[in-house]
Symmetry: D2
Subunit: 345 residues, 4 copies
């Protein structure tokens, strides 16, 4: 690639999408945002205005038609990821695809194949892998500071109340996909292995509206797992927890342990006359991982320009989807699910 500046288009201008777009507008060297697209004209127009772009699109095909676009960020609802990615690859566009990568393993494979055939970069957006603390933890592990990894425990509990479209697990893949995709990826990354068995328990504790029509819906999940290299894993995930965005991870090794996770919104401690000291809980993944998103976007551009593999691959994306599916199957059928290649048993 002879270009020195990558022109990027955003498809899907929701919350995560706009984080990327703002980065590409101002904080990613060697790249710029050149187009934005959203099925909602209102959203698309608002995004274009904020990004100081002269035009916007509601049909992503128009974006793919633009010769000036080198790469696309796919940040639509998950079910459209595959279709858009395959088409983008066919047009020679590099792809940064938001997590979860897709709904099924089969979709992931099609996306991966399309990228390979057309020689474009396909990076899946597990931004925690670019967070400075996660990067440091990985470095410490690789340096042997805690011996061999034995067990990884990770939780993500988000304050957002599940939206009605999430109630149908067969269409949304549920909280395991929406919030725990990150935990799943962290367990794979820190153990250096793939999930082998999964047992998950789900329950609906906060969404009484969903109970009648969607008895399978869960807003809280606990999962334990074994890995192909013999490690152990624990995940718990929740939506609608109200108290803040709580994402922490621990890596237990044979010679030590690493704790990861910042739960404070700022560094103010307020001590009051009720003899309680108060700290504001971290409000959102958007602030907590803001720098990680930027680092991720910068690295995506670098991978494209340097023609090297991305740091999070289609395989990583697929294995997370597979594990989400294994977890959901485990919850539904109340049994241990074994992962064997691309298959669940």
């Amino acid at each position: 690639m002879e270009k020195t500046k990558l022109s990027v288009a955003l498809i899907g201008s929701g919350r995560a999408g706009m984080i990327h777009a703002r980065n590409f507008r101002s904080s990613v060297p060697f790249a710029r945002i050149v187009a934005v697209c959203d099925v909602s004209e209102e959203n698309a127009a608002a995004a274009a205005k904020e990004l100081e772009l002269e035009t916007y699109f509601t049909d992503y095909h128009k974006v793919l038609d633009m010769d000036t676009v080198d790469a696309v960020i796919i940040a639509t609802p998950t079910k459209y990821h595959c279709e858009i990615a395959v088409e983008a690859a066919g047009r020679g566009k590099h792809i940064l695809c938001e997590k979860p990568m897709a709904m099924t393993v089969e979709e992931c494979n099609r996306m991966d194949e399309a990228a390979r055939i057309h020689g474009v970069t396909l990076q899946v957006a597990f931004m925690r892998r670019f967070d400075a603390s996660f990067v440091e933890a990985k470095r410490l592990i690789d340096a042997g500071e805690i011996g061999d990894v034995v067990m990884v425990r990770s939780n993500t509990r988000g304050p957002s109340i599940p939206k009605p479209w999430m109630y149908d697990i067969s269409k949304s893949n549920g909280p395991l996909a929406e919030v725990c995709s990150h935990d799943i990826d962290s367990l794979r990354w820190f153990t250096g292995a793939d999930f082998k068995t999964v047992f998950a328990i789900g329950g609906n504790y906060r969404c009484p509206d969903a109970k009648k029509e969607f008895p399978d819906f869960y807003d809280n999940v606990v999962l334990n797992a074994s890995f192909t290299n013999g490690c152990q894993g624990l995940i718990d995930g929740a939506q609608g927890v109200l108290y803040g965005y709580d994402a922490r991870c621990e890596i237990l090794g044979t010679k030590g342990c690493i704790y990861l996770g910042n739960t404070r919104e700022n560094s103010v401690t307020l001590c009051k006359s009720d003899m309680q000291r108060r700290e504001e809980y971290n409000n959102s993944w958007r602030t907590l991982f803001r720098d990680a998103y930027r680092a991720e976007d910068i690295d995506f551009v670098a991978a494209v320009l340097e023609e090297r593999p991305p740091r999070v691959t289609a395989y990583d994306g697929k294995m997370a989807v597979l594990t989400v599916n294994a977890g959901n199957l485990s919850i539904r059928e109340k049994r241990i699910v074994e992962i064997d290649g691309d298959c669940l048993r």
Copy 2:
């Protein structure tokens, strides 16, 4: 009971036993230590000397023969608990029994029955229930501060290397019994319910010596569980972790969350020229729960003198043993185990 001062004898003068004995010697009002017994004459003699007792015993029957003894603390290896407790009850001695209560549910039932028939108090020593922070957490839960309990997650990781006698899980009940009994009890206490299903995964990561002869031995375990009232639970346990004694617990409710657990040995933070700040990790359960042991002993005496039920009952002891057994069965047979009354399915 007309007495105003309880005379207590210690049976088993190991580490936990001596914590109780020292408390009864000096820090428990309305009680005193009057006798000590250990199968090792050396241990018994050393304990008597430290406790300023004139004599000591190596046969616990001699202790039970003493009319002046009102109550016994049973802190022997677990496999002797049942025999001693049943006999002590028959002699009208009140009993504070170290955890785990016994090896099997059947033993627990015999101990409970003996205590009932002879009208003596039988308290199982889950000292965390008397720790000021655990007590405060329970109070906050009961006051509705975090809404309804959804999930409890607890871990105990201890620095001690497993002793060879622990290698045979069928005889030792393994780390689930030795370290996770406390987590199991905390999950029951904080959820206010009993375990319904258990799935556990064990592995031996630190004890290569045991691998050949004791392939079932594990020094690390992850467990997830459902409860009779619909709550979820997660436990992880480890022995030989080297970095310290790490006991923490979280209670996630519909309206908030409680974090529990002190991991610091003292309040010194040392900042050095390598730009690392250092804090000494909590060394041992003995320091961490020292005050909890004292509060437990005080409450045991109060329960006896006030003729009220103890705060930790034989039922609590039995359900912990049952859950340990369920976990070990789950690990061995790699399946989900259901708890139904006193039975495992």
Copy 3:
């Protein structure tokens, strides 16, 4: 001394006094509490009852008359310390004297002299020197972990509202004596030197009642200091802060820094739906330094029985009084005060 068990009497059964008395009753090996005295008959009677003593006194001379008393704890208001200590020494009683040692340097010298002449141990009760964290900090300093000490900063802010008897600084010596005596002693201990110059600023921010009649009264003070060995020091002290008992200390060295001080009452963190996490602030010096009092009492007994100097000497007590006086003079005359031997310039 041939005795192996020290008989101790308490003179002044207020809050600090009773902490010692409870320790001597149950937690101090080789010692026992044998008598209690307080000018308030009600207090003395209550104390005797709690300590299971058959009698009590309202006149301390009666206590000194007891041949069975080996040592006295003086925990009366400061102005009586000298008189009682001198008399006790004359009767051959060892002395553990609460801080501040006395009102003036002259009194301190008389107490010291009496103890020397009569060959009794005189220990001043700066219990922080026996706190496990302070002891560890001192060990780290002495081991050279932070290089040479440059500066020590210490603060004590207490929740108690100043009592009216404190308003007259000439009689009470004010918050510098009541709460900052400890900070002053810590600065001396950690720098390994004596105060050379002191400049303090006081103000009354919380006690409007005192303003008219006692314009010199202060409930908040900031002080900076130089030391005989060239170190620097900072102290801030307050009474009536409402938010808790806040005692922290930092030792800055040429190669590192030590932070000291626990501000939490327990290890519970409560996260609620207002996205605030809450921790109970340490309520009182009584809980924070409970173990330090016990260690102090144990060490006092050891010093007496082993016939070795106490770890906190009359000189330490005197230098703290001198520094308090220097600070109060500085506040009153709004000038830098130099300490030269026992004199203030």
Copy 4:
């Protein structure tokens, strides 16, 4: 001002200057960096390259000659601030001036006057006032959450070894200027008042090279102060502390207290087999206050474009310089210095 985008030039491309320049290049809406100047051609050239500017300057007059430049960032050594600012104002350029504002009060006054006469914005770069945690603390104070402010305590200890040019305090104004300017400004901001009296003690603990030729040089300082509204203040500052960049602040009020300050570089806690847990100490003000610099730059642009006063004024800059001078006088003459208008007594 009719323009909607501000063209900014950097004068002095050292560390702080480049932080601003990078912000203006990419992260400050409604502004762009258009020129860079440094007396070192090498520095200027490197800066231009990084900022993707086609040219660079070594003479700041050339920058002021550019009609396209709307505003300048002055980040040269302090002694050049006045000359450049006065000239820039004369050319109608808005000014963001790094701290300390100047060497003397007289210089500050000249700068302020020039800005007033020529109608340009002059903002002094106390970036802590734009840090999210400091802003939140100020909001809590103003909302009465801690009652009336009583005392503010602030420290800045930096890892950088003092450079030889700092040794001559009469030319460098020393650590009070270099690191404690921020503390001084925080005390003014949080108390809402000006310094009234200052007493400071300085010492040289880490720079033996400087001792002979520059006996007045200090690398550690403690300062206490009274304020025009009766508040109290404490500052300690240090250079070359090795263990990290340690900037913390406490605001004590009549009804509570606020602690401010993050001392961690990331959120990784490493627990190792020596039973120590380690956290990386915050390395530098550049990372700690990175977001604050950006917020400061954004607000500077907003103040210019909206034609409103800057949030940190020339008066704020001057009062910090005056207090630095008071502190240095106090150290040199070992006396309390009173601040009266622009004069020191």
